[in-house]
Amino acid sequence: MMQTGRRLCDHEPPVQPHARWVRISHWIATVSLMTLAFSGVVILMAHPRLYWGEAGNDLTPALMELPISRNYKHGGWEKPTPFFQSGSGPSSASRTYDIFNQNGWGRSLHFVAAWWLVLPGAVYLLAGIFGGHFRSHIWPKARDLAPQLVWRDVVNHLRLRIPPGSGGPRYGLLQKCAYSLVVFVAAPLIVVTGLTMSPAVTAAFPFLLRLSGGYQSARTIHFFSFVALLAFVLVHVVMVVKSGFRRQIRAMTVGE
């Protein structure tokens, strides 16, 4: 194995190539996440308004409106009719226009891709936990998290001083933190909030709605988890390029 400019200390594990199951998981996740991102944005375009709590619609105030389709701030509604005598409470209104809506294929594609994230993802998590991959390669060690070490790695990254890739573990400090946040926080969060948007799943497991604070809260968290994962992917690709694109791609495909 070729060592390019990385010193090995005695007490650290040697640099290893990516295991085959890690490489396979990586590319399944890549295709699945890209498909989920694409179909997810298509779904969001049908109703680009985010809310907090259980309920939210065009007749209630939004947390934020995203300018991503012609449905953005569309006014085409008949005059609202109040449901109750008082006249000031909840009302009904009929929509007068055809919205942008590609959810027929958008939703189904999203769920096909979601199965490819959830099922191989579960296998990956089990293999990572019981095979020791997470403990030895992914989870940052407490003694590495000393402030001066973290600071040095942050400064190196900000100055884009990225050492040439080793083609596998062991990973840098911020690298481990980023992978840990993705594997143990963002990915589980996006899956759980996704499931919370299923009326059949929350009928069976009502605690999911209490966990996020309601359907629309889950939808909003789902969206921001996506934004976080998107930010990770962008930084990840920049790091791959800066640390030697050809070698890193070879390492994650043929595995050397």
């Binding site: 109703h47 769920f111 096909v112 199965w115 009326p199 059949a200 009928a203 069976a204």
Partner: protein
């Protein structure tokens, strides 16, 4: 109703895996929606089989209090008398002019005694009132109070046969959709004639709409006029979800 009409756990797993594996070309299992070889519809069917295999049968959706009721958009068809140029639209206008007193819901197919129900007859059956969340595929939600008769009581009154697997609904806005027996017999699945303490408003499906609380809003069909109990899957043809590119099962 006997359990033979329901999809069993083992059957759901086996047929789900078979359809996902592309084995459906050889012999498509009864009791699952057809996919017509479409990858997206295979995914829908896999999700349906997984839900039926893994989720408990008749758990209830969350119910809310009066204070939780929100404003409620009316989308899709908001008046079949205006939007439907067919005979159905004419028939609906006639019913509407008579305050739906001549409206009849036909219950037919695999039932011991095919019959019709007037609005008054439906209201004579034991009623149920529930405040639930309507979840639209577009992404919005609204909370409303529904009063109606549980579908299971109507099926029982007509004597649905033990071999029955699906209940198919036909509406005045010319749509055909169906649910399986598990959802049809769910305690919160109802034929609703009241909303927020009043008669069901026209834009929300007057005189009677379906409520299928464990699926998305578009399964809760408005403007009902016919219910057909079947042993085999009916995709509704050109008036159904699947041939229009939409998932049949929308518990997700």
């Amino acid at each position: 109703m006997k359990t033979t009409g329901l999809i069993t756990r083992r059957r759901a797993i086996i047929t789900g895996l078979a359809s996902a594996g592309g084995l459906l070309l050889a012999r498509y299992p009864k009791g699952l929606p057809p996919t017509y070889g479409n990858l997206l519809r295979m995914g829908d069917t896999f999700t349906y089989a997984a839900h039926r295999a893994l989720l408990p049968g008749q758990s209830l959706v969350r119910e809310y209090s009066d204070a939780d009721i929100t404003s409620f958009p009316a989308t899709g068809t908001v008046n079949p008398g205006v939007s439907e140029k067919s005979a159905l639209g004419d028939a609906y206008r006639l019913l509407q002019s008579g305050a739906f007193s001549s409206w009849r819901l036909s219950v037919e197919g695999r039932v011991a005694t095919p019959r019709t129900f007037s609005l008054a007859e439906l209201k004579q059956l034991p009623s149920r009132t529930q405040i639930t969340r309507h979840t639209c595929e577009e992404g919005w939600t609204a909370i409303g109070q529904w009063t109606g008769v549980p579908l299971s009581l109507v099926l029982h009154a007509a004597g649905a046969l033990p071999t029955a697997r699906f209940v198919v609904f036909h509406s005045y806005d010319d749509w055909v959709d169906s649910i399986d027996m598990l959802d049809a017999l769910h305690p919160q699945t109802m034929l609703a004639y009241g909303m927020n303490g009043r008669d069901l408003p026209l834009p929300h499906g007057a005189p009677v709409r379906l409520r299928v609380e464990r699926q998305l809003g578009y399964k809760s069909m408005k403007y009902l006029h016919r219910i057909v109990v079947t042993d085999e899957f009916d995709d509704g043809g050109k008036k159904g979800n699947i041939q229009n590119g939409w998932a049949w099962y929308t518990g997700i």
